[in-house]
């Protein structure tokens, strides 16, 4: 018998993130590296720990191997505890049937038994797609104070961008009266962040109802929320004003990394009371050699810099050889930039090697991407916006 939890978090981590191109060919989007030592999923997991939520189900489906290995016992986030902790929840066989997760709501529906073990009053629904620091406990208190059936975290987006989001139209008490998915003529600029708190008994009811509806696409935004609104359930908007970045595309992932180089940093990563935890690679401090230059950059353990690095983010164990030049780029764990190579406005994925004298990316234009484990021959040129994977011919 497990002890009751007030709130259980369910993290939807099954999406492919196809707009990240070759970066998510072999890993799920939440496992994509970010910010020199993190992966995207470190943000929602650390937010849970810092918010006092210690029971987290992570729903996986697409390329789960690396994500599973990364989460492990949950120790980096203090989620390796006896009563609660982090659980990886892939789809599974049930009796004679067995199926993939068909949508966000269906994924939760298929794990009702997991949630019920903890007999929670509330369930927090999260995704592994965003970089942000948020106190879910404050949001939960808001939900309870408003006697809501559901609370949706929203942030105000520039009006011209509102047509790209799910927009919440609220009354003067922050109660949501209408939900519009990607409206042409938005009435509000409050965009859903994909972070929901539900009173569990209500959500359970609507999940079951939704499952019975064969025409439903089993999605929170398209089905569950509109159904609850139709039934006049109390849904309130919880405004969030902090840094929040969707890292769903190559460009936005690159931008989010570059944001960390701004002064002041738009997301305070030095805050000791709200640490972002990550699995530690356990390498020696990084080394900057004589003759190297490093400006306006983030560098982490295990790196060895003999060349020139400016306005860039280097992950663990990256080697920049003599005479190599790295500008406005993101170099992921274990990659090597050989002597004389020039890397500009690029993302170099894990364990790639940029050969001597090679050119990657350009000063302007789209971001060039070198895929995981790719070795670029000496002297080749990769133009802006090009993605290089195994199928690329030099």
């Amino acid at each position: 018998m497990l002890r009751k939890k007030t709130c259980v978090a369910m993290l939807l981590a099954g999406g492919q993130g196809s707009r990240l191109g070759i970066l998510t060919k072999k890993v799920a989007k939440p496992a994509v590296p970010y910010g020199g030592k993190y992966r995207i999923i470190d943000f929602p997991l650390s937010n849970c720990t810092n918010s006092g939520i210690d029971t987290v189900g992570v729903l996986t489906q697409y390329q789960p191997l690396e994500l599973n290995a990364y989460i492990g016992s949950g120790a980096p986030w203090d989620l390796d505890i006896t009563n609660g902790g982090v659980f990886v929840l892939p789809p599974y066989q049930k009796g004679k049937s067995g199926e993939w997760y068909r949508g966000t709501a269906n994924a939760i529906y298929q794990n009702i038994a997991f949630i019920e073990q903890y007999n929670p009053d509330y369930v927090l629904i999260l995704s592994g797609d965003h970089i942000y620091k948020m106190d879910y406990n404050a949001m939960l208190n808001y939900h309870i104070r408003h006697g809501a059936d559901a609370t949706i975290a929203v942030r105000e987006v520039p009006w011209e961008e509102a047509p790209r989001f799910g927009i919440m139209n609220t009354d003067s008490d922050d109660r949501i009266v209408e939900f519009e998915e990607k409206p042409k003529n938005p009435k509000s600029n409050k965009a859903s962040m994909g972070v929901y708190i539900f009173t569990w008994s209500k959500l359970r009811h609507y999940l079951e109802e939704d499952e019975a509806d064969k025409k439903s696409s089993n999605d929170f935004g398209k089905n569950i929320i509109p159904n609850m609104l139709n039934d006049k359930q109390v849904i309130v908007a919880y405004s969030f004003n902090g840094y929040w970045k969707d890292v769903g595309t190559i460009e936005s992932l690159w931008e989010a990394n570059m944001d960390l180089l701004e002064t002041p940093m738009p997301i305070d990563m030095h805050d000791k009371r709200w640490r972002i935890f990550a699995k530690n690679p356990g390498m020696a401090p990084h080394y900057i050699a004589k003759g190297a230059t490093v400006k306006d950059s983030l560098i982490t353990e295990g790196c060895e810099v003999y060349g020139n690095v400016s306005h860039s983010v280097l992950f663990a164990g990256v080697i920049i050889e003599e005479g190599a030049k790295v500008e406005s780029s993101v170099i992921m764990p274990g990659s090597i930039i050989r002597r004389g190579a020039v890397v500009r406005r690029a993302i170099v994925a894990e364990n790639a090697i940029v050969g001597p004298g090679a050119f990657v990316g350009e000063e302007t234009g789209n971001i060039a991407v070198i895929g995981t484990g790719i070795t670029l021959p000496a002297g080749v040129s990769i133009p802006a916006g090009q993605q290089v994977d195994e199928e690329y011919t030099f």
């Binding site: 910010g35 972002i276 990550a278 530690n280 401090p285 990084h286 306006d296 983030l298 353990e301 280097l314």
Partner: protein, 373 residues
Amino acid sequence: MKDVMGLIYTGENDARLRELTVTRAIAAMPVAGRYRVIDFLVSSMVNGGMKNIGVITQKNYHSLMDHLGSGKEWDLHGKNNGLHILPPFLTRENVGLYPGLLDALRSNNNFLIRSKQETLVLSNSNIIYNAHLDELVQYYRDTNADITLLYTKDPSMKRDEYGTYLSIDKSGNVTDMEVLPTHPGYDNVFMEVLVIKRELLRDLVDKAVSHGLHSMDKDIILRLVQDKSAKINAYEYKGKCWQIDSVQSYFKFNMDILDPEMRKGLFRDELPVFTKVRDEMPACYGDNATVINSLVADGCQIDGIVENSILFRGVKIAPDAHVKNCIIMQDGQVHEGAYIENCILDKQAVIKRNARLIGPDAYPIVIGKDVVI
């Protein structure tokens, strides 16, 4: 490797480390930007397959306990085995301060009895090394020795009036020993790391202590070698090692590992060094940062000039500050316009605006923990 346990003694003399060991044991000394001395020893043992490791503490062991915690970072939080911190306690014959290693071992007889492993690796804690201890134990087993000693031929380890030196014959057996010689006659320096059967160790310690003896090297090993009553051989450690027992040797170790070759000798891919994790973000370099030949840990913020230095986690170097040949421990700060050279800043030390502090090359200035200058 199964059936081997580790035991680390951390009670070494530390007077020559001055302020640095006022609040901590040598084993807890911060080194190489993010480690403590003991990390290298515990990691060597863990990498060698040991899952039951005891750490005998003596004085000032609070920071050691704080650092090692449950042993989780070394995967030593198992049910049967794991990490055991063994602080001194009062008994009829012991008032809490061990006169020597043998007394410490005798006091922890119960831990030795409770442990299940047949073989034991005993290590000191003031030599930094990263060894394949599994190969050492294999050698011990293959040669059917009673005791196998780990030694090095590293010339920097040979010093007048310090250490224990071995004479070794062609088949690897120890034929003579010098303990604390004025001028060492042999080149083989005993690294104070040995392999022995747990029961044999208990037996030898018991006999020696009951005869009023205190020194492992002089009172047990040397006697066994001299009266040829046991097979004692030696195994060479070919990697780099450093004795940490004075401010100079501490400073030298840190400066040595700025050399990429030296660093490779200590940080080897197959022998990772584990330590307590602090979850700091990567180091941030500002527009005007200039860093030359330095090791920098996560959480640092660098806007000034850093040359030939080691910066631990969370260190801040302000614009126009200049740091040369320095070791700056966790959360140290050097403010605008300050210049420091040949200094060791203990944790949270702060050098205020425009201060100048230049130590002589051979004798770095030590700034104590939490001191503001």
